[in-house]
């Protein structure tokens, strides 16, 4: 399993707006996931979810990697990735690959430097390169710079930049749902529980104001026993 650690990103993370009510988008993200991610990454905990059933995801499709495959870094299961990292992290990570001949895969990443994952989106996104090839020689690396000030698109792929952002966004929406599917039930039950409590608070507080206050003004001691 990878050693993920939040905070070692070389660039600031882009904010992504998560909309858990957009079911169509989650399903679309799931389809994208099946196309681009499922060949290496599993979602073991997710297989019994209704959304997984709708997508046709099954345990048999999930890849299983031995511990020593991929030079000891097998692709991790992504069931909880949006919680252990963050949606923002995923959204930025998947879009900040750049050409680096020094890496065995030919690509490096700004958010997760020296990542072992090959760039999965070469044909869609195209190639990104460092704006200044000597950027890292001058010890610039820190987390506040925006990624688009460090790398630029050299060669466009099958999708335009806006389409590609949408594509990745869909996947992030899907993975966020996967990491905690209880979100639907929570949003559904939440208002009822809170409404019930609000009503109950109002009733008991009104009772205290109307009845209890009088008692406090002229307290009665209990009968001796």
């Amino acid at each position: 399993m990878f050693a993920f650690a939040v905070g070692d990103s070389l660039v600031a993370l882009d904010a992504v707006k998560i909309d858990t009510t957009d079911q169509a988008r989650i399903l679309r993200g799931g389809q994208h996931f099946q196309q681009t991610c499922l060949s290496c990454h599993s979602l073991v905990d997710f297989v019994n979810d209704p959304v997984a059933k709708e997508l046709g995801l099954s345990k048999e499709q999930m890849p299983v990697w031995p511990e020593d495959s991929w030079n000891g870094h097998p692709p991790p299961d992504l069931s909880l990735i949006a919680l252990s990292m963050s949606p923002d992290w995923l959204f930025t990570y998947l879009r900040t690959y750049y050409v680096d001949k020094a890496r065995p895969t030919g690509y490096n990443n700004l958010v997760y430097p020296n990542t072992n994952m090959p760039n999965p989106f070469v044909d869609m996104q195209g190639h990104q390169v460092l704006i200044n090839p000597n950027y890292f020689d001058k010890n610039h690396a820190h987390g506040e710079q925006f990624w688009y000030r460090v790398i630029k698109l050299k060669e466009t792929g099958r999708l335009s930049p806006a389409e590609f952002d949408d594509y990745v966004d869909d996947i992030v929406q899907f993975l966020t749902y996967v990491s905690d599917p209880s979100v639907h039930a929570r949003r559904q039950i939440g208002p009822w529980v809170l409404g019930y409590l609000t009503l109950f608070i109002m009733v008991t507080y009104a009772y205290f104001r109307l009845v209890g206050k009088d008692y406090f003004q002229s307290p009665k001691s209990p009968p001796p026993h």
Partner: protein
């Protein structure tokens, strides 16, 4: 969960209101099992000072929080598997497959954080109104022991999901025991049940969490309440209400706890539940503070996380540990940061209880110790480098200076005159 709470409430209501009217049956049972007179003694005949304010609700809230943890805990134990291979996935089983498992788990994880919030406010109230002073010294000490037990319970529970932070935090805490001279290393092996933190450790922490500390906590809460009810509640003015009683021996400044304060505190308890469920339904991880991001990754003994940090409620003590360069001394000071509170009743020499009638010196001391504690809590979650380290050293110094200075400050402070009776407002 709601249903069990409602049933409990209804049962208490029935016992208090209906059964005493069945004179024959009620009296027959009561002679053999004094349950009704016990409840009457501790609710209807418990003289509560009439000026108890909202700060006094935190004691009742702590009981509610405790009940929530016990009830939700029972359901979690039904599905949780305490082995290194299964623990992490059994938590996911609870979250995804068990009907309403997510609710029970989020209630349990939110519950512990809010329990600490409530307990810290409860302790602050005790400090503010001098509830530790004579005759409540043992009551205060049992409270300090309870805090310690609660921390042990929370820590052993934190290990159970077997995520990265569970594993590494338990490693850090267990290694502290190795700084005990002579027997330290043996204690570490005994605690771990192994030469490393492993599945065996997880299994015994499960035992400590579910049976060990939880029952000690119950027993200690029982003692805490027995002690409270034998010496009586303090009040915001720190006036001794037992001095002035009517013919029947009822304190003039007291009202029966039931129904007066029950009536007053029920909306507050419901408000607590409201906040509770806002978090459960809309922010269960509470921005990574109640459920840390790192802990959603399975425990991996080969990969150390970048920053090992404790849960927020233990971070002040962790900040003290890190601010002292020597590990053994750090562990000792961490222990002392709680143990020293045991002696507070004898360190505080002021004849006055409540801060309402204390001079500026005592007030400054209180603000300093509370302020430094909060600051340490923040710093414990940050990496111990640069200014963070300097600040945590200053805060540690301020925190411990309280125990050195409070005898002097409280002795020389210019206190105000405490009234004989609770003043009318």
């Amino acid at each position: 969960m709601f249903i069990s709470l409602l049933i409990t409430g209804f049962a208490i209501f029935v016992v208090l209101n209906v059964l005493p009217y069945f004179k024959g049956v009620g009296a027959w049972i009561d002679r053999r099992l004094p349950i009704f007179s016990f409840l009457l003694d501790h609710l209807s005949y418990y003289p509560a000072p009439k000026n108890l304010n909202i700060w006094y609700a935190f004691g009742a809230l702590a009981m509610v929080a405790c009940a929530i943890q016990f009830i939700s805990g029972i359901w979690l134990v039904m599905y949780y598997t305490p082995t290194a291979e299964q623990a992490f996935s059994s938590v996911q089983l609870i979250m995804r497959e068990v009907p309403y498992g997510w609710l029970v788990r989020y209630v349990h994880s939110t519950g512990v954080s809010l329990w600490f919030v409530v307990v810290y406010f409860h302790i602050f109230r005790g400090l503010m109104y001098g509830s530790y002073k004579t005759p409540r010294e043992l009551l205060w000490m049992s409270g300090v022991v309870l805090l310690f037990l609660l921390m042990a319970e929370a820590y052993t529970g934190y290990v159970l999901p077997w995520g990265q932070m569970s594993f590494w935090a338990s490693k850090v805490i267990i290694s502290l025991f190795s700084s005990i001279p002579v027997v330290g290393n043996d204690i570490v092996v005994w605690l771990q049940g192994d030469y490393e933190v492993s599945g065996v450790t997880l299994h015994r922490f499960f035992a400590f969490h579910v049976v060990g500390f939880s029952f000690l906590i119950l027993a200690m809460i029982f003692l805490h309440i027995i002690m409270l009810h034998s010496v009586g509640s303090n009040n915001p003015d720190g006036v001794d209400i037992m001095k002035h009683k009517d013919r029947n021996g009822w304190p003039l400044d007291a009202v029966p706890y039931y129904p007066y304060f029950v009536m007053k505190y029920i909306p507050i308890i419901l408000l607590y539940l409201f906040v509770f469920f806002v978090i459960v339904f809309y922010a269960p991880t509470f921005f990574g503070l109640f459920l840390e991001a790192e802990n959603f990754e399975r425990a991996n003994p080969l990969v150390t996380p970048l920053h090992i940090k404790p849960s927020w409620y233990l971070s002040p003590y962790y900040a003290i540990l890190r601010s002292i360069p020597d590990k053994s001394l750090g562990a000792l000071m961490m222990l002392m940061s709680i143990v020293l509170w045991l002696f507070l009743p004898w360190l505080d020499l002021s004849p006055v209880r409540s801060m309402r009638y204390r001079g500026w010196m005592s007030r400054t001391a209180l603000i300093t110790v509370v302020g430094s504690f909060v600051l340490l809590g923040y710093l414990g979650l940050q990496p111990a480098v640069g200014w963070y380290l300097v600040m945590s050293r200053v805060a540690t110094l301020l925190y411990f200076s309280f125990f050195l200075l409070i005898p002097i400050l409280s002795y020389y402070d210019q206190d105000y005159v405490v009234p004989d009776r609770i003043p009318e407002r």
